[in-house]
Symmetry: C2
């Protein structure tokens, strides 16, 4: 568990989740400018890239260079997504502070996303933990449970299966877990129920983040539900960039600007300057001209007299 | 208090709140088709128009004809907004089932919106109640408290003032009240706090609806917060049409489709068929070609296997 610096920690995933879902590749120098702008706005954790085969995801072929740049930004927790042991090894060699390993709660999505069964992914996490203990002992390992709230391929994902996968991943040595609404099918009642159950079983030390999508507009409501169950770390993406390439119709992460506005207006400190955060849309636009950007707060502007906490 | 037919009652305000905020006038026959489609989707209450001087709001000059049409739709609660006694009298003569009178919590907004002070509006409500008792005793009167959560003209709106206005309006004889986030400045913590306080003071019989906006993306989260405090009636607008003429650039109301999706996916019956509700965007489009429509659910489509309750 990380001790959070503020009431809420936003983990910006745009440079990974966003950029992997766009067909075009953002030039490396633009990525660096964008990540620097996000850091300058006060984000303390950024998932900056993914260590995946460049043949499969050429948009993120510059992973090592991006990590090296991000590591120069003061006090930034640099996170990378890795799908397997090979990616984890590359991430460790690049000296990231934390990796996230996506583990699908649905067998169909697991095979589509990482070409492994759920059981094989648990073994993979165990192998990653062993390697980390050997060569990068301070690096954190998060196992993120994908499609925890529903799957476009399989439909309903049984909650018991999500819980047993979580238990297996923690037993395999993951430092922490979170649940992801990869397909935008979660609702606030389900979010509360599942986080309550998971936290009761494994504790807030081990279950401490939520990755919600805004596919059907429920992103913030689902984050609020998770917050009320005790969750304090939330993934989101600037301008809502992103989705999942293997879950058709699953557009749209929670919009960081709107999420920060919600928490700050509730009196919860995020450490983020909203004016600078909205300004960080500019390097994103410059690096991906014409890409559709989401977010109501940027469109409406901040209320008169609003100040970041 | 109405006894609700389902777990949640959605009060569709698009034909009033939406159409008044658009400069163009939707042709009367198109309005009728749109309202009929909303009713066919299962909406049990629709705010169909506003009785205001046609010179001020030519878009709604056909108020009496629209009400007459809406009254032919089986089991529909037909609501009209009225700003004053004169409008209320016209609404009573048109035989609406319920009127909503907007009463601003901010003095600045009150003067801009209805050219009266808050005290004068309380007197107006008292006069409307007297007239109702005389000529339309079964008609319900709701006093809606505008800018209850913040005002673009005045800034912060003191909560004590909102509560004392609510008390005055109930003492003046309003059957029920609700609070409106006219300017999109509400946050879930504030919504919970204020509804909790109001319900504790005046009861769910008297405080029973929420009118949220989605200006900065918090619309559903704020509705969720109000729901958790006991509110079961929610105003919203198909495709998010609408807003407030005094909040320029801010897109408007909570999107009905997304709100219904949230509640239905939580297992709460609204009586609304989401497929038909999304289809009700077609007559809206036909009546206002090119008007920007909001809503993530309509864009993403319903999840595989989703069925309205």
């Amino acid at each position: 568990m990380n001790t959070l610096q503020f009431d809420i920690q936003i983990s910006e995933v745009g440079p990974r989740d966003g950029l992997q879902s766009v067909v075009r590749t953002m030039p490396t120098e633009d990525k660096k400018r964008w990540i620097a702008a996000l850091h300058a706005a006060g984000l303390q954790e950024i998932e900056v890239t993914s260590f995946v085969p460049p043949k499969l995801m050429p948009q993120l072929a510059d992973a090592a260079e991006i990590v090296a740049h991000a590591l120069t930004l003061p006090d930034l927790q640099v996170v990378a997504l890795v799908p397997n042991l090979k990616g984890a090894e590359a991430a460790m060699k690049a000296c990231v502070h934390k990796i996230t390993i996506p583990c699908s709660a649905s067998e169909a999505h697991s095979k589509a996303n990482v070409r492994k069964t759920r059981e094989q992914m648990v073994d993979e996490v165990r192998n990653v933990v062993a390697l980390r203990n050997e060569i990068a002992p301070t690096m954190m390992i998060e196992a993120g449970i994908s499609v925890a709230f529903g799957c476009t391929l399989q439909g309903i994902v049984p909650e018991d299966g999500v819980m047993s996968l979580m238990e297996a991943l923690l037993e395999a040595g993951a430092d922490e877990t979170g649940m992801a609404d990869t397909t935008g099918m979660a609702n606030p009642a389900q979010v509360r129920r599942m986080y309550r159950r998971a936290i009761a079983a494994y504790g807030l030390d081990k279950v401490n983040s939520a990755h919600m999508h805004n596919t059907r507009g429920l992103g913030l409501a689902n984050c609020l539900a998770a917050y009320e169950e005790g969750i304090r770390t939330f993934d989101s993406s600037l301008a809502g960039l992103g989705g999942c390439p293997h879950a058709p119709g699953a557009s749209g992460n929670v919009v960081t600007e709107d999420l920060v506005f919600m928490f700050e207006s509730m009196g919860l400190k995020t450490g983020i300057d909203l004016t600078k955060l909205i300004a960080a849309r500019e390097p994103l636009k410059a690096g991906l001209p014409g890409e559709p950007l989401y977010g109501m707060t940027a469109e409406a502007g901040l209320p008169l007299g609003f100040k970041s906490l």
